[in-house]
Structures are given as C-alpha cells and as structure tokens.
Symmetry: C2
Subunit: 110 residues, 2 copies
DNA sequence: TTCATGGTTCGAATTATTTCGAACCTTCTG
DNA sequence: CAGAAGGTTCGAAATAATTCGAACCATGAA
C-alpha cells in the first residue's frame, strides 16, 4: 500500500495571483518550475543551481511552490513526483505561466 | 526650473524577471500597477486600499515598483507622475504584463 | 528484519522586507 | 518671503522569509 505523507494542495479556485507571483519570484523556484514544463519529474531529478543545498532547504522551496499551487507533489514509491499544475494555472490566470516560463530572465535577483 | 529628485530607473536591458514578479507579488503594489493601466497618474491620484498608510510607506511601495522597472516615476511640478513601463516590459517579457493585469486575483495573500 | 534511500517537519538562527516617524527638499501660492 | 503641498530618504523597530541540522517516517532492497 502507498501512504507516504499526503501533502495539502490548494484547489484551483483558491489560487491567489500574488501568491503565485511570489512563488515564482525566486530564481531557484522559477528554475524548478521550468524543469517541469516537459513533464513530471521525481524530486531527485530536479536539480538546484547549487548542488550543495541541504535537502531540508530543497524541500522548503518545493513547499512554497506547492502551497502556492504552482506544483503538485505526490508520493511515488519512496520518491516524490513533481508536476506543474498547468491546467489549473492556465484556467485561473490565462497566459501567465506561458509568459513566465518563456521569458528570458535577465539579471537574476541578487 | 525643474529639478525635483531624479530617481534612478533600470534600463530595459537590466530588467530581471524574478524582480518584476516580486514587485507584483504584493497586493498593494499590484493594485497600484493596475491603476496605471489606463495611463499615467500623479502619485496623489494613486490610492492605496488603506487610505491611512503614511506617505513614507507609500513612497516605499513605489520604490519597489520603480527599481524593479515596473513603473516610471518622474517629477511633475511638485507632484510625481507615475506610469507603467509597458513598452519595456512587453519587449522584455512578452505577454507577462497583460496576463498579470488581466488576471483575477483570487484570495489575496494574508 | 534491517538498512539505505528519498523525502518531510520542526525549531532556531540568520537575513530580508515592511512599516513608520522625523527630517528634509522642491515647487507652487499668497 | 513664508507657508503649505507633495514627495523622498534615513534609521530603527517589527515582521516575514530563508536556511540548515536534527529528528523522523515510509518504501524498497538485501
């Protein structure tokens, strides 16, 4: 039986624009979202720009994305399957995700 | 002669996506940006949801928007003329501003 | 069944952001 | 010129976000 922690996700109707923008306003989190555009990834396949950051920090970054509704995080064996909530985001904020993911970053935040 | 403080603005090429997203991730700042969508406004015409916030706080909100490159702030007599940097933002991050400004907010951040 | 893997969560410490009053600076008006 | 209007800036205080280690928890393999 599969019963790794079942993490809370906001429903589509609960998504908040400013919260989503905030989640994507961090370079590391934005980079994570971008790694998911081509399909779900297990957390271990999702790489941070700095490979030395501890797993608790990585987990926290994921939490911000998840609680904002940008990403879904479901148990997958002993791993975690991450996926972009594209349908929900597109429905709620049309064009936003495409604009963000296709934009060139420019100078990242210091 | 006109010489109110000439505030620094980032150039188009210096705009950073994450910085712009951060600037717009606050409900008050987002609301300001939205008031500018139909054209420039003097700062005094730009209203905050809470009318009791001191002018130094309002000034700070404007600074975040300005230094992110979302808004231009130029002297206009003894007032300040605020305008959306739509051309620059559209050039740099196509579709982003439209998506953000036309989106429905949903639950604002607590 | 025991152990390693791949995670989450908690709490404390650090760091970043926000808020506000006070001081200041121009410009406009009388 | 004096004063008010409309703002910016500077600190300091309060609040929020990030970072990280330690403890923990399931799952899959041996």
């Amino acid at each position: 039986m599969s019963s790794s922690p079942d993490l809370p996700h906001p429903e589509r109707s609960e998504l908040s624009l400013t919260t989503v923008l905030f989640a994507l306003s961090d370079p590391e989190r934005l980079a994570i979202a971008r790694q998911l555009v081509d399909g779900p990834l297990d957390m271990a396949e999702c790489h941070l720009s700095n490979p030395n950051v501890p797993k608790s920090t990585k987990s926290h970054l994921m939490k911000v994305l998840r609680t904002a509704g940008v990403v879904r995080n479901e148990a997958n064996g002993r791993a975690r399957r991450l996926s972009l909530r594209r349908e929900d985001l597109d429905a709620r904020f049309p064009g936003l995700l495409d604009a963000v993911l296709s934009a060139e970053d420019g100078q990242p935040k210091p």
